[in-house]
Symmetry: C2
Subunit: 371 residues, 2 copies
Amino acid sequence: MLEQFKVQINDEVRVDESKLRDLVSSLFVKAGLSKDDADLGADVLVTADIRGVDTHGVSNMLRTYMDYFSKGIINPDPKTVITRETPSTANIDGDRGLGIITTPKAMELAIEKAKNVGMGVVTIHNSRHYGMASYYTLMAVEHNMIGMSMTSCPPQVLPTFGSEPLLGTNPIALAAPAATEAPFVFDAAMSAVAANKLGLARRNGTKLLGGWVADKNGVPIMNEVDPPVPEYEHYNAQGGATSHLLPLGGTREIGSHKGYGMMCVVDILSGILTGGGYGMNPGRPNFGHYVAAYNIEAFMDTNEFKETMDEWINMLKTSKPAKGHSRVLYPGQAEAEVAEDRLNNGIPLHNEVVEWFESACKEHGIPFELV
Amino acid sequence: MLEQFKVQINDEVRVDESKLRDLVSSLFVKAGLSKDDADLGADVLVTADIRGVDTHGVSNMLRTYMDYFSKGIINPDPKTVITRETPSTANIDGDRGLGIITTPKAMELAIEKAKNVGMGVVTIHNSRHYGMASYYTLMAVEHNMIGMSMTSCPPQVLPTFGSEPLLGTNPIALAAPAATEAPFVFDAAMSAVAANKLGLARRNGTKLLGGWVADKNGVPIMNEVDPPVPEYEHYNAQGGATSHLLPLGGTREIGSHKGYGMMCVVDILSGILTGGGYGMNPGRPNFGHYVAAYNIEAFMDTNEFKETMDEWINMLKTSKPAKGHSRVLYPGQAEAEVAEDRLNNGIPLHNEVVEWFESACKEHGIPFELV
């Protein structure tokens, strides 16, 4: 599972996480962000790289963010406003700001509310890309709370029995603290496979597995296929690729109506409920977010909770693996192991990404140092 | 989808819902419940039957409940106590009461809290069977709120890469109101298939589909098999069948780690966080529950929310179906259609169930009338 977790990297360079952080922050400042916001955004991106969630780290996201800042698609200096608020909830207008910078602030507010009244739920509308959903849940863990997080995304997944991509991959994340074990961290798109896996297969020439996509008629493709497969890849008027991703479950028989239903839940809680509309809303290129903090002490003794988490985690970790597998992992374990390696040995970046950093530094007059 | 939803019934009798309700309530009173509690429990059971969720209706559950009441496994007169409380949360000791009776009361408390402070989350530990998870979420809908509900269950599902059933089927439900459409209602176990489907296949002699279960070594069975399959059915010391159900996703490649992770989320929020432990806890035959109510008005204008729900539901309903299918359904639509039929034409009960009612009425001295 560990290997499957990581984006495969050849020709990699291991870079220092604090130097990477400084460089990302400097680039964000050049894009018009305040130093504080730039540092915060850099922390969200680099934390994804440290935890092995390379799909949401600097390699995959930073260039898009810089491009969107320069084109005005993302507002580098948003004036966020709370549009409604109660003791346990708030709804924020993100003013087209980048989700990775507005959402940590929303989670801080949720944590404050949870301290005061037990629970905090904060939503954001009119926002942009969310980054790694589990970052915000881990903020709650640092306060001995349970954190939950989700975001509605632009549509690329079919409903069960449908042939049009109407729902986003709509990830859900939840993190909970343990006493001595690494925290439980679940973070997953509610599609059968992350959209990024399709692009990766295309670039690397690897096969798409059965149950990932449907053909142009919406019929699930259940055998392995070589990319690119014209039957499932369609290009929209702007030249962007859209996909016929299947919901988690793949087919109705194995439960795709459940993945479909969970994507709907995310569209409702982080899209419709925020007032910002859903993924398919006409003229909506934006994202809606939802974060929640649960004050464990409001329900039970926090130390007892964390000790029970340790016991439960150990039950899973030490259980007998299936034939052909060496161990059973719990959600968050693989990422904690990758983080230990990367903090000690550096973050692997593809040569091509390092070269991009070098040219971006030259363009913006920033000293280039990564190793 | 409609047909797959329903438990297949041959030799059925259509019975009147209000007569069925009265009869169930009378039996509950004979089991030691107060008249109010008996009426409430009857409503939860019969609502499942009306909505076509026969797995959680009278046919499948009432005999077990009556048996457990008579054996003292379920407490007919629980003294429930709130063990911790904040303005937006509460945790309740269910005193071994039946979940279908304590949980509606917990949801009422959650709704009250949501009215006061925006959100309400109420958990229950030391409880018994939960019934249909969506009943409680529909209570919130009646107050123009979003309802969420989940329960931890006894273990019968494998973790990804595991060979021991360590997690419950752990269903999650969420309901949200619309303006003119039937409410959105999602309600599903986080296993690939409901445990009940295995028993049904055994009784009806139908095949188990690929992706539902694993063999005794934990290896997913991906082809159709005839039940009973000794490789996946194991009988515990008490003679009860345990199963090697697979998580939603079936295999790691189609996302079983996501179904596994969602089952863990339910174990944490409705098990560990309630202080009542998780499904596999030694000596724990009980269930832990979680209900939440979201006051829509705390986030946005409720009418605007409901109109957007209508628009989004219609987008799904009117989208182009996949080849081989006649329509795309949204979660809750099939159940609403079944409810319309059953309220008009009666609830179908198997002859054998009707006979049980007749004998139970005789035993308890209750007049028998169902049609």
